[in-house]
């Protein structure tokens, strides 16, 4: 159970929030002109990486505001939370823990015993 620091309300329990999937997926403009593939990717395709992930949350049982979040999906560590209109923080500003071949950090992941 995470603690999420809502940029409008402050730190709150995860149960107050809903996850909104990958962040920074821009809805294509002038949608009639673009091709099936590009539109299909916008509608259906989302990243699901192990490691650092830019995602959206909404404080659905609170202020109902959407915001963005950078989270390490293998350890659940929340690295940054920023408002929806703020610029996407650069990836190299976060330490990426994922080192082992299977993509498991040796600490914080459930599968710590796999490490050599």
């Amino acid at each position: 159970m995470l603690i999420i620091d809502c940029p409008y309300c402050g730190p709150r329990d995860q149960s107050e929030f809903s996850n909104g999937g990958e962040a920074h997926v821009k809805r294509p403009d002038g949608s009639a002109e673009i091709g099936d593939r590009e539109w299909g990717e916008y509608v259906f395709i989302r990243a699901n990486p192990k490691g650092i992930f830019y995602e959206r949350w909404v404080h659905s049982h609170g202020c109902r505001k959407w915001f963005n979040c950078v989270r390490d999906t293998s350890t659940d560590e929340i690295l940054k939370i920023y408002k929806i209109d703020e610029e996407r923080p650069k990836l190299d500003s976060f330490k990426n823990n994922v080192k082992t071949p299977s993509g498991e950090p040796n600490l914080g992941s459930g599968n710590f015993t796999v490490k050599k």
């Binding site: 159970m1 995470l2 603690i3 329990d13 909104g20 809805r27 294509p28 002038g30 949608s31 009639a32 673009i34 099936d36 539109w39 299909g40 916008y42 509608v43 259906f44 959206r56 909404v58 659905s60 109902r64 505001k65 959407w66 350890t75 659940d76 929806i84 209109d85 040796n106 600490l107 914080g108 992941s109 459930g110 599968n111 710590f112 015993t113 796999v114 490490k115 050599k116």
Partner: protein, 992 residues
């Protein structure tokens, strides 16, 4: 009675005798006894039958790690799998043993033990494959389930539990020596502290053993009571006793269960258990260690117990499980048992140690020699033998000779493990300690501190140093605890996991998991079959998968595997310890979210009127909606619906539509926003008019529908389906905030602020003119799909002319607190015109006759507006709206998509059913290509026969042709495919 002098035992109230029943026989114990200590007091050593082989089993431990002694508490809703070693007795308690038939002494299932050579690991997977796939489900599984297993699930059940949230700075798990010192040092600091212990007595090892002679020159008991008093009197520390921390989540979120009725019968109307949800900045784990057992032949016989458990029975419960016990150990942890036994005057019958004489602690060695206890060094127990109880053991001494010792009791110690379950749940990293032969916490992932034996620090002399180093972050004053010990302060161990038997037969069993009946032979077999990764091996053999999670044995399994594979234990790794630490009941987890509080019930403001008037209710999401209104108790639903429907078509009916979602949208850019959200165009709409509108997902599929009222370009009110209200509002908010933040628009739910009363039928105008005489309801003044604001006795109302039944109708929107008044007025004024209330079922029938869809019934998330024949609702001139681009995707323009059609049986007497498949052929062959299925089906009182809506492939071009509906009996009914409208195709009624 094997009983010690109880006058010096402060935990057992020996003057308070307690009667309880075990397997129908009455026994007596004392207040403070667990089921186990009370039964041992009565010299009862056989407690249960094992899971697979039905072997007789006794008490192996004295705590939560118990693998054998699981019992059913008949007097508590027949609660199964209760650990007899921790559950306290109370007067009138009824207990039964588990997994035996007809009785514990004579168990038919124990024949499995004789057949055991044919039940190796993976036996079930390999054997019960044929001759037919149904054999497993129908024959093998029921038989195996009956024979193997734990307790029986309770039949009737109503436990009461509640949830409690805590937000504290520091949580100390475990109130033993280290936990108490840590808590004491935090007294009157700025931190709020929670001290949690599973026991009803704080003190841990000080209570359970004679290891410590004095603390700060006080007896351990005096030191504990003084310290606990100080902690209790502090303002910043709260103690939770009888509370087991089962789960350690991210981020420092602990879940603990508190038993509110320890040692007394739970009261029916009181909270039985509390689930504590604790959020904390720092966790201090002081939850101690667990002793391991050892594997040798028949190491499961009743009469075999762990050393520390034997000592705990003596110290804590004043019970001596046996007067003449043999001790077998490979480490220094057995020393304190030897000391305790000698102190009480029951010196052990023999002491067997796998270590050589010079490696045994000198103090222990002297103690044994001084008391003339037969000592076997460099020796091992080859096997234990006896009929339903231990009778003799075979000892191989240092010279290789085998000695037989007759004894009824044997105490084992195979080493100790820090209780790392919670630490690993927190995702901390463990490391194997070659010296102490156990996994120890190495690196915390969360703000976690481990203290004492929980951290793998087994040296009593290092306590001060460790606490002062680790707690320095809290700025506490350095602690200086002076300990005097009865035994050696350090822990020493030599490697021993398993002793191979003297004679290996196919019936030989050295257990590695007592609860799941896994033997060391199963481990060998699994490895030879290639299951050599520890996670695979665990699942193949079911090792450590019982309710005890292999607490006394899982590390032994790792040791054996590492030897067999010739790998270091660290390379073998451990399996993952997952929450919960020990089983907790669903009742505790459910808490108050059960029975009538499971889900909120939403009721319309007119709800009580519906009850008074005999409505039968239907659940629509959380709402209670009137389903139909039977006029007397003999009227069936079908009869009521036919009557209600006919009445709406001939006279008028009134429906409570308050549950429909209502959203108010305002803002400078409200028009632009609505044009983007819905398929329709609202630009040319005049204020005061309304429109039926569709909302799509970005995939082009119909997500919701409703009527949009335009008050002005900057103000709209939208209705949604009852079930879609929250989703539609959420979707609007999401797009307003994330995609079009440039639009100045705001939206809010007004669902519960307004009730909706729908009147429809040919006599509607007569009624409504009487109720609202000042309003002009003529076609010219109040045309179809327009709305007006009025006042009714100072109550502002909105009247919308719309229809979901196909008849002329009005919807009256009224503030909820005034709704009942207007509803009753309409009912009483409508009587002379034959007005009747109708429910959702009649509404469904009437709308289906008119071919109006219900989102979620006639659509399923894979239907576009084009599939529904609703092309006219799409604002083609609009540049963009949700899902617009998807409507021209190659998939959505396919010709053979499923499309909405009407279905009529050719023989008008035939009855169709929702869900029936529509097929082309009269004969059903396998496989039969399916065209689609019936989504809505009713008996029409107007048509006099069945009719249906269906979605079928290429349906629009099949209109006018014949097909067949298949029945569950594999028969077919000939049907006609028709336009999806059965009533008033010209729409003449709506505008009449």
């Amino acid at each position: 009675m094997s009983e010690l002098n109880l006058t010096d035992n402060k935990f057992i109230q020996f003057h308070q005798k307690i009667g309880f029943k075990f397997d129908g026989v009455k026994y007596y114990g004392y207040k403070g006894d667990t089921i186990a200590s009370a039964l041992l007091r009565n010299n009862l050593k056989l407690i249960g039958r094992s899971f697979k082989y039905h072997r007789p089993r006794g008490f192996y431990t004295c705590g939560i790690e118990e693998p054998n002694a699981l019992v059913q508490i008949i007097s508590e809703y027949s609660e199964p799998n209760t650990r007899a070693t921790i559950k306290k007795i109370y007067e009138g308690m009824e207990i039964e043993s588990q997994n035996r038939w007809p009785s514990l002494e004579t168990d038919i299932g124990s024949i499995n033990n004789i057949f055991s050579p044919v039940f190796p690991a993976g036996f079930y997977y390999k054997t019960f494959m044929g001759p037919h796939k149904n054999f497993w489900k129908k024959i093998y599984e029921p038989i195996i389930r009956k024979a193997a297993g734990l307790g029986k699930p309770p039949k009737e059940f109503k436990a009461v539990s509640t949830h409690l949230h805590h937000n504290v700075d520091i949580t100390i798990v475990g109130g033993g020596l280290n936990g108490l010192i840590a808590a004491k040092s935090l007294i009157d600091t700025k931190y709020s502290v929670l001290l949690i212990d599973f026991d009803d007595q704080l003190g841990g090892i000080l209570n359970n053993s004679n290891k410590v002679l004095s603390v700060n020159n006080q007896t351990p008991m005096d030191w504990i009571s003084e310290t606990v008093k100080e902690i209790e009197n502090s303002k910043n520390i709260k103690i939770l006793k009888n509370t087991l921390v089962t789960t350690y989540n991210y981020i420092n979120h602990l879940i603990a269960v508190e038993d509110k009725f320890v040692g007394s019968r739970p009261l029916k109307d009181k909270v039985n258990s509390t689930l504590h949800k604790i959020r904390t900045d720092q966790v201090i784990l002081c939850n101690g260690h667990i002793e391991r057992f050892l594997s040798f032949q028949n190491n499961d016989l009743p009469g075999i117990m762990l050393c520390s458990s034997f000592e705990k029975y003596m110290c804590r419960y004043g019970v001596l499980p046996s007067k003449e016990t043999v001790i077998f150990s490979n480490n220094s942890n057995s020393e304190s048992l030897v000391f305790s036994l000698i102190k009480k005057g029951f010196k052990p019958k023999a002491y067997i140690d796998s270590r050589s004489g010079e490696n045994i602690e000198p103090d222990l060695f002297d103690l044994i020699r001084k008391n003339d206890i037969p000592l076997y060094t460099n020796s091992q127990i080859k096997g234990a033998y006896g009929n339903k109880k231990l009778q003799k053991i075979l000892v191989e001494d240092s010279s290789g000779g085998v000695n037989e010792i007759k004894t009824d009791f044997l105490c084992l110690s195979g080493g100790i493990n820090p209780d790392v379950h919670l630490f690993t749940q927190s995702k901390g990293l463990l490391d194997w300690d070659e010296k102490d032969l156990t996994y120890k916490p190495a690196q915390a992932f969360q703000p976690t501190i481990t203290l004492g034996s929980a951290s793998g620090q087994f040296d009593f002399n290092a306590i001060n140093k460790e606490i002062n180093e680790k707690l320095v972050i809290f700025g506490i004053k350095p602690v200086q605890i002076k300990l005097e010990l009865n035994t050696s302060h350090k822990f020493k161990i030599e490697k021993l996991w398993e002793v191979l038997p003297q004679k290996q037969t196919i019936w030989s069993k050295s257990f590695i998991d007592l609860q799941n009946d896994v033997t060391t032979k199963d481990i060998r077999q699994a490895i030879s079959e290639g299951f050599d990764r520890i996670e695979h091996l665990k699942r193949y053999t079911t090792n450590s998968m019982g309710t005890d999670q292999g607490k006394i044995s899982s590390i032994n399994a790792l040791g054996i595997v590492s030897d067999l594979l010739d790998k270091k234990v660290n390379e073998v790794g451990t399996t993952i310890y997952r929450p919960p630490y020990a089983p907790l009941s669903f009742a505790a987890i459910a808490g108050r979210n059960s029975y009538e509080y499971y889900d909120p019930e939403r009721k319309s403001p007119i709800h009580n009127w519906h009850i008074t008037n005999g409505a039968v209710f239907e659940d629509v999401v959380q709402w209670k909606r009137p389903w139909y209104f039977p006029i007397n108790k003999d009227e069936t639903m079908d009869e009521a619906v036919q009557r209600e429907s006919k009445n709406v078509r001939e006279n008028a009916g009134v429906l409570d539509g308050s549950t429909l979602g209502k959203i108010e949208i305002k803002g400078r850019d409200a028009l632009a926003f609505m044009n983007l959200i819905y398929t329709n165009s609202f630009s040319k709409m005049k204020p005061g008019t309304s429109r039926y509108a569709l909302m799509l997902g970005e995939d082009g599929m119909v997500k919701d529908d409703g009527i949009i009222c335009k008050i002005s370009d900057e103000h709209f009110i939208a209705t949604t389906t009852t079930g879609g209200a929250a989703t539609v509002l959420g979707c609007m908010e999401e797009y307003a905030q994330t995609e079009w933040p440039n639009l100045n628009v705001y939206m809010n739910s007004i669902t519960e602020q307004y009730a909706t009363i729908n009147i429809s039928g040919p006599k509607t105008r007569n009624i409504i003119e009487k109720v609202f005489p000042e309003v002009n309801f003529s076609n010219e003044a109040f045309p179809f799909m327009t709305f007006q604001f009025h006042e009714y006795e100072d109550t502002p109302i909105r009247i919308l002319r719309a229809s979901f039944t196909g008849e002329m109708g009005y919807e009256i929107y009224v503030p909820s607190n005034q709704a009942l008044k207007i509803w009753e007025k309409i009912i009483s004024f409508g009587k002379e015109f034959g007005l009747m209330p109708y429910g959702t079922e009649t509404m469904h029938l009437l709308r289906a006759e008119k071919g109006y869809i219900i989102v979620g019934q006639d659509t399923d998330g894979s239907i576009t507006p084009l599939d529904l024949g609703l092309d006219w609702m799409i604002g083609k001139s609009k540049k963009d709206f949700l899902g617009k681009r998807s409507l021209i995707r190659s998939d959505t323009v396919r010709k053979d998509r499923k499309q909405l059609v009407g279905i009529l049986p050719t023989n008008k007497n035939e009855k169709l059913e929702e869900g029936q498949h529509i097929i082309l052929d009269k004969e059903i062959k396998t496989p039969t290509p399916m065209l689609g299925h019936i989504t809505s089906c009713y008996q029409s009182p107007t048509l006099g026969h069945n009719f249906a809506l269906a979605v079928i492939k290429n349906g629009q071009s099949l209109i006018g042709t014949k097909a067949f509906a298949s029945t569950p009996e594999l028969k077919t009914i000939e049907v006609e495919i028709v336009e999806p409208i059965f009533y008033d195709k010209e729409n003449s009624k709506l505008a009449s």
